[in-house]
């Protein structure tokens, strides 16, 4: 319930940004001619949805913060961990909720952008754009897990270390912004996404052990 408002805001903002990206591109096409905009996209690496680059992981971080900070500040997690269930099961159910929410959010944004862009550009160009957005969405999934890992860490010293590790991990997804730049790193991205899902469990274990 605490995440309801945040999810609604994030969904609304992502829809608005998607529509704004479309309107902005239509404006650029009217001013500069479609042939020049296509040239910039195909040969000069112009992004169709540059605003999504940092917004997508930011949405994930927001959902994670809204979900897990109250657990720590209101000491709810302590009570939750006293339930007759393994901490890994408790954490996984909380994380699964977050990941599922993000999946629905991102899927909505993905298909909205896909169909809006397809009305302006050929499928070849749109595929490149969606490949670019997919990397940012994966950055979002990883950011969600790593933010939970940071928030749930009981000691501030290791929270700061976790922030450093998390920032380094996510920065790898922003080295190359060209479409299809991560084509040969798909397995690396998948492994990192799966692994980041389990990092918060470790913080939870440390929290429960009272370290």
């Amino acid at each position: 319930m605490k995440t309801k408002r945040c999810i609604a805001i994030v969904l609304l903002v992502s829809v608005l940004i998607s529509v704004y990206s479309y309107i902005n591109l239509r404006y650029e096409i009217r001013i500069n001619d479609a042939v020049n905009i296509w040239y910039a996209v195909i040969f000069q690496g112009k992004s169709l949805t540059p605003l999504m680059m940092y917004l997508l992981p930011l949405f994930a971080i927001m959902v994670s913060i809204v979900q897990f900070i109250p657990e720590m500040t209101d000491k709810r997690l302590k009570l939750t961990l006293h339930l007759p269930a393994k901490e890994i099961d408790i954490m996984l159910s909380m994380l699964l909720y977050g990941y599922t929410t993000l999946l629905i959010l991102y899927a909505t944004t993905y298909f909205l952008i896909f169909f809006l862009m397809l009305s302006l550009f050929s499928l070849d160009i749109v595929i490149g754009c969606m490949a670019q957005i997919s990397v940012w969405m994966i950055a979002g999934f990883i950011s969600y897990g790593l933010t939970a890992w940071i928030v749930l860490e009981p000691k501030w010293k290791y929270r700061i270390f976790n922030i450093c590790i998390a920032l380094t991990m996510i920065s790898v997804l922003y080295i190359n912004t060209l479409p299809l730049g991560y084509s040969y790193f798909k397995s690396g991205l998948m492994i990192t996404t799966v692994v980041s899902f389990f990092f918060p469990v470790y913080s939870c274990i440390r929290f429960k052990d009272g370290i």
């Binding site: 040969f43 790898v172 730049g181």
Partner: protein, 416 residues
């Protein structure tokens, strides 16, 4: 091993992976000094390759035999490189080697070409643009549509309406098939810019491996088989519309051949090999500085450089020079302290991946000493299980300084 230890090990592993990128990168930033090869240029006066590096030696430059020449003579001894300066000063000679020279001729014969492995190994444009090769107003403009090569046709899509131009697609596809093109096209190469003197369209290889020329003349297709398949198997082609229209571009063969695609007087195509060593497109960087009489071809990789003075007409080598890269402080330091350096980027590849930049067995000796030191200083007397002590010994022996750095970031668990 329970799931707690597995997750701890996963965190440790990823921290080591990231540290093996970041820590060497940071140390490199602190210690690295630029180590470029000198500028190499074939002197038409000295008839030898010259090495020019005024950052290292402000007052002199040298030829490959070691002779030194004063900087004041730089323009006059390299007239075909510095013709603009000589012309400004009124010192441009009337002729060299019996050939009359003037600024206009020299400009039209100038060649500058650079190839890097990332030209091949990076995301390629998803579509092409076929310019009008004989524009009515004499300037090149974007045609309004872009093409892609489908499985059985070429498809032109109008940018304004975002719709397929069926008539143009059909016209070009029919002409291509009439000239023997077998779809799907394996690869195509062009120079998609209007900032050039003229346009020669695209070259492509079809499914049989035949190399074709495609351009648009007065909105109609021009398709011609270059008939080169008997001479060379093409790995890559770099289009280059030179001012004197002598050739179309540079060909890289499957077996390391490198040369130009010349146009003949009969309108045919000819592969002319440049007399240099075999090229490995995944590692070699190539620079060509050419003038009306001589080309200077420089081929370098991470370990060495080969330079050639080439006769501009025959493309045969008349001088050559080899130099190995010297190990600088960073190279020596990294070999001893980092057993491996991992990076998500590579200077020879535009794609993100896990690249092992270097691997050094020397560093393992330091790691073993470090592991023993840590064992004696911290773990010998503590009440820790033997298998955990062994794990730490092995961990520090393998990862060394990077592993110790990573351990600082990861909270202690039952493992330590």
């Amino acid at each position: 091993m329970n799931y707690k230890r597995i997750i701890h090990l996963l965190i440790l592993f990823f921290t080591v992976l990231l540290s093996s990128w970041l820590v060497p990168a940071f140390v490199k930033k602190l210690t690295y000094k630029s180590q470029n090869f000198p500028l190499v240029y074939y002197s038409s006066i000295l008839k030898e390759l010259c090495l020019i590096d005024f950052r290292q030696d402000k007052d002199y430059f040298h030829d490959i035999k070691g002779n030194a020449y004063q900087r004041a003579k730089y323009d006059s001894l390299l007239p075909l490189m510095n013709y603009r300066q000589l012309a400004m000063n009124g010192d441009l000679p009337d002729s060299i080697d019996g050939y009359a020279i003037d600024v206009k001729t020299l400009r039209s014969k100038q060649i500058m070409f650079r190839f890097r492995p990332t030209d091949i190994f990076s995301p390629q444009p998803c579509m092409g643009v076929l310019l009008e090769s004989m524009p009515k107003r004499g300037i090149l403009t974007l045609p309004g549509d872009y093409f892609r090569m489908d499985n059985n046709q070429i498809t032109f899509i109008d940018a304004g309406s975002n719709k397929i131009n069926e008539a143009k697609s059909s016209l070009f596809t029919k002409e291509m098939k009439k000239k023997g093109v077998k779809f799907p096209i394996k690869h195509y190469w062009g120079n998609p810019t209007t900032r050039k003197a003229y346009d020669e369209g695209y070259f492509f290889t079809d499914s049989k491996g035949d190399f074709y020329h495609l351009k648009m003349i007065n909105d109609r297709p021009f398709v011609k088989n270059t008939m080169l398949d008997s001479d060379i198997k093409i790995r890559w082609f770099s289009m280059s519309e030179v001012m004197d229209k002598r050739f179309y571009g540079y060909i890289f063969g499957e077996n390391g051949e490198f040369g130009i695609l010349e146009s003949t007087e009969e309108g045919k195509y000819k592969f002319k090999k440049i007399d240099v060593r075999n090229i490995d497109v995944s590692k070699d960087e190539i620079t060509i500085l050419g003038n009306m009489l001589y080309w200077t071809v420089k081929i370098s990789d991470s370990k060495s450089m080969d330079a050639y003075g080439i006769d501009a007409m025959s493309l045969s080598a008349i001088s050559d020079y080899h130099i190995n890269k010297e190990d600088i402080f960073w190279d020596k330091l990294s070999k001893w302290i980092f057993p491996f350096i991992i990076s998500p980027t590579s200077p020879d590849n535009g794609f993100i991946n896990l690249y092992i930049e270097s691997f050094s067995a020397k560093a393992f000796w330091i790691n073993v000493l470090l592991a023993l030191f840590f064992y004696i200083a911290f773990y010998r007397k503590k009440n820790i299980e033997t298998k955990k002590k062994i794990f730490m010994l092995i961990f520090i022996s393998v990862t060394g300084i990077i592993g110790i750095f990573s351990l600082m970031f990861v909270p202690k668990n039952q493992i330590l």
